[in-house]
Structure formats: C-alpha cells, structure tokens
C-alpha cells in the first residue's frame, strides 16, 4: 500500500486514541442499539478519556463531515443514541470519575460517564444524594440524564434533571469547549444551560457536569395500596394530591406489571390486584406521620384493598427494586417491548388508561402499565414477540392510537425519555410547522454543519429538503 495513501477518518481517530477506537463489525453492531426497538450501525466507536479527546474527535468529524453521536450507558428508550448516517459513536462510558464533592456549596463536579446510582452511593456517607432517579439509575449515566433531561419516581417532589444541574462543560459541535451555566445561584444572560439540558446530543457533548446535592430526608415512609379496579387507583392519585400532599413519589403499576415484577423480586406484591400505587412520603417525622394517615383515608374512600407500610429499609428497598426493574422484566411476558412516554393531566388518567387498554385489545397486544402517576407521566408498554409475522404493524398502530389519545387529552409526547428517533415523527402532533422551524433555527445556531446527532428530535423537513430517508437504516420505523 502506498505511503501516500490519503488518511481515512479511522486513521486519524486511531492516531488520536490508539486502541480506544474500534471498527470491528461485531463490536460496531453492539453500538447500533440502545434500549429502544431501533437499531442502526455506526462506522466507528471511540472511547475518549477527557474533554480534549472529545474535542479532537469532534474536530476530526468536522474535517471529514462525518456525523457523531454521544453515547452514555446505552439505556435510552427512544433511540437517541441509535446511529443514523454512518456516524462516529463517542462513548463517554470511560469518563466516569467524580471529580470534586463540595459539601459546603452542595455541588459535585462529575464526568458524564458516572452512573447515576454510583453518584448517590458516593454521596451517601455525607448524607446527600442526586435527586433525579430514573428507574434505570443503577446503570444510566449522568451524561445521559443531562441529554434527556431525565426524570424518575422522585422527580414528582424534587423536579427533573434540569433542576439539579448547575453547569456543564460542553464540547460544542464546532469543537469549541465552553461552560454553560455556572455555580453561582442566578447566572445572568440567556439560560443556555437550560437549553442544552434535554438537547439529546444535538447541541454538543457534556464533558463535565456540576450537579446539585440534595440532603437525604430525615424520615421516609413507603406505602403500597392495592386496588381491584384500575380506575379506583387512578382516581386515588388525584385524590392524594388534592388532599394537599405532594408525595416524594407516586407510582402506579397495573396487574400485568405486578405479575412480572413479583416474579423477579418476591417482595410480596399483590399479584391478584388490578393495580397498585407505590407512594413514598419524606420529610420531618411529624409531617410524614400525618400524611400517612391522610393517605389511609384516601385509600378507604377509593376502595383500596389494603395499605401496606414498609416496616424497614430492607422492605422499602425491595418494593422499589420491583418498580425500578419493571421494564427489564418484560421478557417474562414477551421478548420485545415498545413503549411510549406521554404525559397527560392527572384528571385524565382514568380516561387515557382505558384508551390504552382498548388500543391493545383492538390490535391483540398485551399492554403493561407502570408509570409515574403523580405527574401523569404514562409509560404504556406494548409487549410482543418480534418473531411473529406482521406484529410490528399492529404494535405501530396501537402506539399511534395511544399517542393520539394522550394528545387529545391535552397531553405531551414525552415526559422524560426524550424524543430521539422513535418519537421524532410524532412531533408535528404537538408543534406547528412554524414551531419546529424556530426550534431548528436554534439547533442550527449550535450546529450549523448538522453533524451532532443528526436526524433526531426534529423531523427532517422541519427546515431543509426531505433527504433523511436515504440515511435511515433498515428496521427503523419512520
């Protein structure tokens, strides 16, 4: 081979990262998928160790006009990290150090690959935690939480990721390194930090993140209410909040969800029940005690079968383990799942839940509901076996019906999983062409070349010519 051979993008990445750049076919396929149903194949996978290396990779991608996609733990549920257009995957998984914990200012600086639960575990000895707790918190990364502005059961009382991230060092799509936001309480100027959080890697890649530390509550009580009728459970949700209580978490699981969860955790979940509510109260002991009594009253009015109160930390942990592992347990029913993440007003929960079940019935599918009831954030799971011929069309149709029902009820498309690739083409249900045009202008201000996680969030055609279909890999639903 001639020594004058033109250097490829792989050669240049290799020169920068050595063995931390890969292009083996088998390995590439593993980075073609996240936790959603979509898949693609990247051209290269890179494992940078610091901001300078991320900057170097982005520079090379710019030179070769090659798209790049940041990837954390690959647990996204909307295809946000699924490769489209032969991109370079930039895995932040090896950037996993907690850089600094400042207890006085209650801030920690972390690298994006730090796992959410690892951070809270490291803070435990100081009496603090990181409040956003996605159900996948044992594996999802802080970088991924920032990208998706992730929520979690306890975000009902504490707010989602954007309320807990003060600043981020970001490699912009033009490879410039900037710090968005700041650790001062009220940074002046436009809130670019707020804009960046939830941008799903389309405005750059976070390489250091300043997170807010939340003190652990002095007292916690976890209750499990069971119902013979899903509607009773759903009505009890609003009733609890109307009684003046904002629980730390207020989760609902239906009959199918309870069955698959209990088979894994053996926590004594009532497998006969039509639905359960998992309610957590925290704060000062007196207030928690009073709230427990109120909830018992609400439970009685709304025909709850029983109210179980976790007697200790072990029982509490076991109940939560069930809730937080729910999506992963779906294979106990069917090997594949497709889920939505719509948010509806609490007052419409009963109505929309019924429509979810009707949609599943109509297309002969199994619906499993396990969701953040307190803030109306549904997670209807459609469980299926992809090996069954023609099933994808049915799943797709049922999904459409669920989206429509949620939108008709005044809801929104995504509570916390992001839009990614999977929900992208539903955006027009929520936004006018003008809205999307404006959003695309903002995106372009950050990424004029269109290389940062392209073709995600905004449907192609919101601005330029409709050329995305040629990049869409096989198997992707568009």
């Amino acid at each position: 081979m001639s020594s004058k051979r033109k250097k490829t993008i792989f050669d240049e990445l290799k020169a920068l990262l050595g063995s931390r750049v890969r292009a083996d076919d088998m390995e590439l396929q593993l980075y073609g998928k996240d936790s959603s149903v979509l898949s693609g194949v990247p051209s290269t996978v890179c494992f940078p160790l610091d901001a300078e290396e991320v900057q170097g990779i982005v520079n090379i991608c710019n030179r070769f006009q090659r798209p790049f996609i940041a990837r954390g733990s690959g647990t996204g549920l909307a295809g946000g990290a699924v490769p489209v257009g032969n991109p370079v995957i930039i895995s932040t998984a090896k950037m996993n150090k907690i850089l600094d914990i400042d207890l006085e200012d209650r801030i920690a600086w972390v690298e994006p690959g730090v796992l959410n639960l690892d951070l809270s575990k490291a803070l435990k000895e100081f009496g603090f935690h990181f409040a956003p707790d996605p159900s996948s918190q044992q594996v999802c990364s802080i970088g991924g939480n920032v990208a998706n502005n992730s929520g979690g059961p306890h975000c009902l009382a504490y707010g989602v990721t954007t309320s807990h991230v003060l600043a981020a060092e970001v490699v912009l799509p033009n490879a410039e390194i900037v710090t968005l936001g700041g650790i001062d309480p009220e940074p002046t100027g436009y809130d670019l930090r707020g804009l960046f959080i939830g941008s799903e890697g389309t405005m750059g890649i976070a390489t250091k993140i300043a997170v807010r530390l939340t003190p652990n509550p002095p007292d916690v009580r976890t209750l499990l209410l069971d119902f013979a009728d899903v509607s009773d459970g759903a009505l009890a949700v609003s009733a609890i909040i109307n009684a003046g209580i904002i629980p730390a978490a207020l989760e609902m699981m239906d009959h199918n969800a309870i069955g698959m969860i209990e088979a894994f955790v053996h926590a004594g979940y009532p497998v006969e029940a039509a639905a359960v509510l998992l309610v957590e109260l925290d704060g000062l002991s007196g207030a928690v005690e009073a709230a427990v009594e109120t909830i018992k009253d609400v439970a009685k009015i709304h025909n709850a079968g029983s109210v179980r109160i976790a007697k200790d930390e072990t029982e509490r942990a076991l109940l939560w383990k069930g809730r937080k592992n729910a999506f992963g347990a779906v294979a106990r029913i069917k090997p594949d799942y497709y889920l939505h993440d719509t948010v509806v007003p609490r007052s419409k929960l009963v109505e929309v839940l019924n429509q979810v079940y009707q949609a599943a019935d109509k297309y002969d599918l199994i619906a499993i509901n396990v969701f953040h009831a307190g803030d109306g954030n549904l997670h209807p799971i459609l469980a299926y076996d992809a090996r069954e011929p023609g099933i994808l069309e049915r799943v797709h149709s049922a999904g459409d019906a669920i989206i429509k029902a949620s939108m008709d009820a005044g809801g929104v498309l995504s509570g916390e999983h992001g839009i990614g690739l999977e929900k992208r083409d539903f955006m027009h249900l929520l936004f006018s062409a003008h809205d999307m045009f404006t959003q695309d202008l903002i995106r372009e201000a950050f990424d004029p070349q269109g290389l940062a996680n392209p073709l995600k969030i905004l449907p192609s055609g919101s601005r330029c010519s409709d050329s995305f279909k040629q990049h869409v890999p096989e198997g992707v639903w568009v």
């Binding site: 593993l30 690959g74 996948s136 106990r332």
Partner: protein, 390 residues
C-alpha cells in the same frame, strides 16, 4: 482481520430472545465495570451470540469476547427477566471447544490433571519443593503449597464432606477446620475415597462438557447412600448441585438434592453449634459469586458467623473479585483490575480481616495482600480458643 469459521452455538432460541437489552446487568458485570465496553457486558455478549447464531460463522474476535467472561453470573441475579446467561455461556463455550480451536491441547491437558488425584498430589508436592528452593518465579503468583499434608480421618456417617481436587491438594487444612466445625454439632463426618476427585466445574466453564460429565459420574459413584453431602468450596458446590441438569438423569438429580454448601447445613443446625461468648472484632464477608449468584445461599454464611462474630458487608452488591476459577490464571490483567475494585470496597468497609467461602477467591485476594480465611477456619479458631480457656 481474523479468519471466519463455521460454527453453530445451539443456544435455545427462547433463551436467546429473552434479553430485552435493557442494560440493567451492566453495572453488575465485573468485566463491564473495568472496561465500560459493551463487548465485555452480558447484554453485549448475548447480542454477539445472536449475531453468530444468525450468521453461522464466527472468528477469533468472537472467541476472545466470549473467553473474557468470568462466568460469575452476577448478571443473572441482576436480570429482571431471568435470562439464563450462565447456561447460554456454557453452551457457547461447549460449541466453541467442540467446533473450533478454542481449547488447545495444552489447556485440555491442564484441565485433565484436575481429575487425576495422584498426579495432582505429586505435581503439587513438586511445586512445593521448588517453591522452597525458590525456583518458582513469584510472577506466577502461586500460593505457598504445603510440603506435607495430614490425612483427614472419617469420624462417623452422618454427613459427607466433599474434598475435591486443588483444594484437597493445596488447602487441606481448610477441610480439616470445616470438618471440626461440623463435628462440633455432634455429627460424624464421612470422607470420599480418592476416586471422588474433581467436580468438573472448571471443565464446564471451559466448554469441556464431555469431560465434566465423566467426572460427574465418578463423583456420584463415590458418595453412595442418601446422607447429605457438604461442600466447603462455593464453586464446587454450585457444580455438584447442577449434576441433575448436566447429566439429565434421575440418579444425578437425586445426588444433587443431597448437596449443601456447608454453611447451609450449619444454618439448619445452629442450635447444635457450641455456644461461646467471643469478643472478636467483626469480619468482612466477601461472597463468592457461585454462592451468592448461583447457589444463592450466601445468607447462610452470615447466620453461622453471627453465632460467634459480627459481620461487615461490602458495598459492591456482590460484584466478583476476579478469581473465577481458572480465570485469574488465564486473564491475569483483567482479574487484577476486577480485584482492585474489590480491594477498594474492602478498604471503604472499615474492616481488615475478610472471610470468603471459596478457595479461588481466597487465593486471589491473598495474592493482593488481603488477610483472608475460609469462614469456618475463623469459626474453628474461635471455638478452639474458647475450649483452651476453659
């Protein structure tokens, strides 16, 4: 580019489909924890198996990805869908051993020696002598092997003690201590003859299933009757309990139902253990993976220990220490990296002395300077000291 070769893994189709790729296993996988790479994760390994099963071809890269798994099975306790990862990996390795050059001759020979007690004893004696003459390089990281070992003597016929291969050749003192603790409950201990030998766990892990089945048949013959068979090595115990599945016979299933980790058996006989007031400082319990993730009887260790001494828990959710049977010899670098995480957890725990109910973990951690014993060695010494005082 490595060469492609034809291979059929033969993994059950439903098992292969049962992973939803949620990724909840990743933080519980020791090799993912040290690499942060999908190829070294359970989810990634399953996806690789699917690729090979669909294509019918594999290459050396695939073999190296499969061989990098420690087979700790921590992913199985973490998996909400109950994916049978261990059996899938064993099936994969069996197919690779049968159909490719995955297990070269010299490795097969090494595994064979485990099933030959006399040769193993002789070889161990030789190593012991060479160690005294300082002719064994320390980089091999072998434990100090005893020159002479006292023969164990049967004390009755209530329970069997399984003695195994390497452990009997290198760590018979541990067996002796375990035997004394079992005897302290009033039970008489019966010992198998030399022909019992190796349980075959390492062979199954290496994909040498046929050899493992032969060893299993020998072991079953060496333990006649219906009395319980107690095992003080978590890896061997897990294997003996799996004979019913491995051989698929009712005889093997009946044998497996007689097998107990020695702590499980003691936990059922706590009231018979000598009552002693001890003021020993608490000890760290390091759960062997095959006790915690496979046999799932690690709580029994605590029940027994807490009769005599307080226990300190590690904060790593039972993550592997990196020993993994032959793994630490075959992949010393990864094994050491995994061990570093365990050492950090031990340091954070505030304790100093560690107990672990598996010889592999003991040796692997000992080599890093950890003060470690079998749980029942510690119990035995506490009982002995109390007896002396009286």
């Amino acid at each position: 580019m490595s060469k492609n070769f034809k291979v059929s893994l033969g993994i059950d189709e439903d098992a292969l489909a049962s992973c939803v790729s949620c990724g909840l296993c990743l933080p519980h996988c020791p090799t993912y924890r040290v690499t942060q790479e999908e190829t070294a994760s359970p989810r990634g390994r399953i996806a690789l198996m699917r690729q090979v099963e669909a294509a019918g071809v594999a290459d050396d890269t695939f073999i190296s990805f499969m061989d990098a798994c420690i087979q700790c099975r921590g992913c199985e306790t973490a998996c909400p869908s109950g994916v049978p990862f261990g059996p899938m990996m064993e099936t994969t390795r069996e197919a690779l051993a049968d159909q490719t050059s995955y297990q070269p001759r010299y490795r097969r020979l090494g595994y064979s020696v485990l099933g030959m007690p006399r040769l193993l004893a002789l070889g161990s004696r030789l190593i012991a002598v060479l160690q005294r003459l300082r002719l064994i390089p320390s980089r091999l990281a072998l434990p100090r092997i005893p020159l002479r070992q006292t023969k164990l003597k049967a004390s009755g016929d209530d329970v069997w003690l399984f003695t195994g291969c390497i452990m009997d050749a290198w760590m018979r003192d541990t067996h002796a201590a375990v035997k004394r603790v079992v005897e302290s409950t009033g039970a008489g201990v019966r010992l198998p003859g030399n022909e019992a030998g190796c349980c075959g766990a390492l062979h199954v892990h290496a994909g040498l299933t046929l050899k493992a089945k032969k060893l299993a048949n020998k072991v079953i013959e060496a333990f006649p009757g219906t009395n319980p068979i107690l095992v003080d090595s978590a890896g061997c115990g897990a294997q003996l309990k799996d004979y019913g599945h491995l051989l698929g016979t009712t005889k093997a299933a009946a044998f497996s139902s007689r097998v107990f980790d020695v702590h499980e058996w003691l936990a059922e006989n706590l009231d018979k253990l000598p009552k002693i007031n001890s003021d020993e400082p608490p000890v760290i319990v390091q759960d062997p993976c095959h006790l915690r993730h496979v046999q799932r009887s690690h709580e029994a260790v605590r029940l027994v220990m807490n009769q005599y001494i307080g226990t300190i828990e590690l904060d790593d959710d039972g993550l592997c220490c990196g020993a993994g049977g032959a793994y630490s010899s075959l992949h010393p670098e990864t094994a050491a990296e995994v061990r570093t995480r365990k050492l950090e957890s031990i340091n954070r725990s505030g304790g100093t002395n560690v107990v672990s109910a598996n010889p592999g973990c003991m040796l692997h951690l000992q080599q890093a300077g950890v003060s470690i014993q079998h749980p029942l060695e510690l119990v035995d010494s506490i009982i002995a000291r109390a007896m002396k005082r009286e």
